[in-house]
Amino acid sequence: MPNDRPSRRSLLVPTPTRRGFLRLAGATAAFSALAQLQVTPAATAAAGAQAPGDRFFDDAETEILTQLMQCVVETGLPDAPRVRDTRAVATVDQVCRGLDPAISGLLPLALRLVEWSPLVFDLRFARFTQLAADEQDASLRSWTTSRFQLRRTAFLGLRNLCFLGWYSQPEVWSLIGYQGPLLPRAAGGRVPA
């Protein structure tokens, strides 16, 4: 699997450990900055120094994003497509690749915090991706009711990113009755230019 940012691989911690917790503290500080969409020049420069590659998120982050998005966009409909069956996560990845590093640079860390949030905020010895669907839903709800505005605001940012990926998929449009673009016929659409 391509991975253009090997330096962030070191953040992968398979089970909760003291070292992982310390790394998480750093991520939390960064996350606070993300929530305010403020980035230090150093962070911007570091993010900008990463060469653009095939993917923005690495494998672990992609898995966190996939499960986060499934929880955020859950329809409850048995026949609805699953996030994994669409290009929703790939769409978010593609958008992030094109973003100014000042905005995108801390998103991977935000996903790591989601992954560790059951331990950090709920004192459960589990990661987000290890939880059942209803437990994931409950974990995310604790973000929305947090007494810390930064945490609530950060969740809204991630939520919106999930919606961008999901509701950009044509196979999702039929679920909500959206008829889709009306492009000029010359561009492959339905309307005479």
């Binding site: 969409l37 966009v73 409850g76 509701y167 673009p181 009306l182 309307v191």
Partner: protein, 510 residues
Amino acid sequence: MIESLPGRGEDLVTRADVCVIGSGAGGAVAAAELAAAGRDVVVLEQGEHWTRRDFTQREDDMLPRLFEEAGMRQTVDGGITILQGRCVGGSTVHNLCYAFRTPPAILRMWREQHALPELTEAALAESFARVEANLRVKPIREDEVNTLNRLLRSGAEQLGYSGFVTRHNRENCVKAGYCLLGCSYDAKQSMLVTYVPRASEAGARVYANARAERIEAPASGPRRVLGHIVDGAGRSRGSIAVEARAIVLAAGAVGSPDLLLRSGLGGPEVGRHLHLHPSVMVAGYWPEPIHAYRGIPQSYYIDEFIDLERDPHSGYVLMPIAGFPVLVAVNTPGFGREHFRQMRDFSKLGGLLVLLHDRSEGSVRSGASLGKPEIRYALDAKDRGLLAEGMRHCAEVLFAAGAERVVVPFLLDPLVLERGADLGAIARREVREGTLPIASTHPQSTCRMGGDPASSVVNAFGELHGVPGVFVADMSVFPTSLGAPPQITTAALADRTAHHIIARGSELAG
């Protein structure tokens, strides 16, 4: 000539009579008028050059292409999202084409309270006429009013509220409805298809992906603009140096003060007095599909709750608004199944926007090189109250127009109202940044115009106090919140600035 700089493979070092920074409603007009008068003009636009063939009508494509920070620009506390254009043509590529002249009461306030006696309707008439002709401004025909706007007009009329069908700048509109994502038909008469080509045909050199970083304005001799060639993600790909006799800064009410602050120009008022016209969409759901996203998105305008003659400082207007799936999802509270229960009725949804003529003021502070400016803004108590009142009136109009359910978008604790519900519940909620999806498409007033250098940044012609030859020509020069859609005022003031530069003759030309 419109050139995307990363393609040239080398730095840009050049000279011109005038360097215009920005190609939106202010910069494009100034560039075209100056070039038509024979000035050698260079335009630096930090965004990319897209054309109708690039406008796919898909949000995942167009939000990153057309908007600053991919539509995610926010105040530092994350409370207000600020939608500004970042492409050749600026915000006019994604705006919804309301075409209002400056309200007379606002002009009067600017004259009387900001020492700008020159800003009379008569003095601006020529600029307004020229701009409106070039943008093909005309009344929206009855057959162009779409379903949502027709329904909301009916609701407002039942309640006895004042409103009217507005003017717009579209030509041969096919009513596809995607104005917000760029017009695939070039029917929208944005700067991209009007003033930018006019400027180019008159000899202006328009450079895309050209980000100005600093202005040098010595007491004598030519001014210089220094910057970077940037790629689509904002990464530096080379340097820019333009030497010019005059500089017209039109980077918007965030970008312009940011650049002046980086350059140490403009004095202590730069970046202060930010107004946003904060807005919130209240969603109504009809019993049957209305496909509100089809047709001209905004044609009706409810002005019942703003009386600028009585109080030029305050009030709000209500404007119909639809949206596409992502934008609606973002504005719909909650997540998971409860969120989808609202989204499932997407085709039955129509929105009404409350847009504040805000008294509250914020600020813009400069960020690091290639970084983001810091935008701070907090609604004061009166404006929070008006926003709540406006949302209540939105709900009232939506129900009168036939909606069977209204959702007031308190993001983490949504308020869903059924027909006959107590609308007073809205005022009992906490209305502030962070609890509602508040957006701004009209940041303004951060380099405000005025006769007194102690309380303003530019004079009546947009020229920096004490820095001859450096002008500002965008919404940042508005002395106060405008209280109306700003496109035509911005363009007319830029036209006036351009003709002032022309009249200065050889002083500001090579």
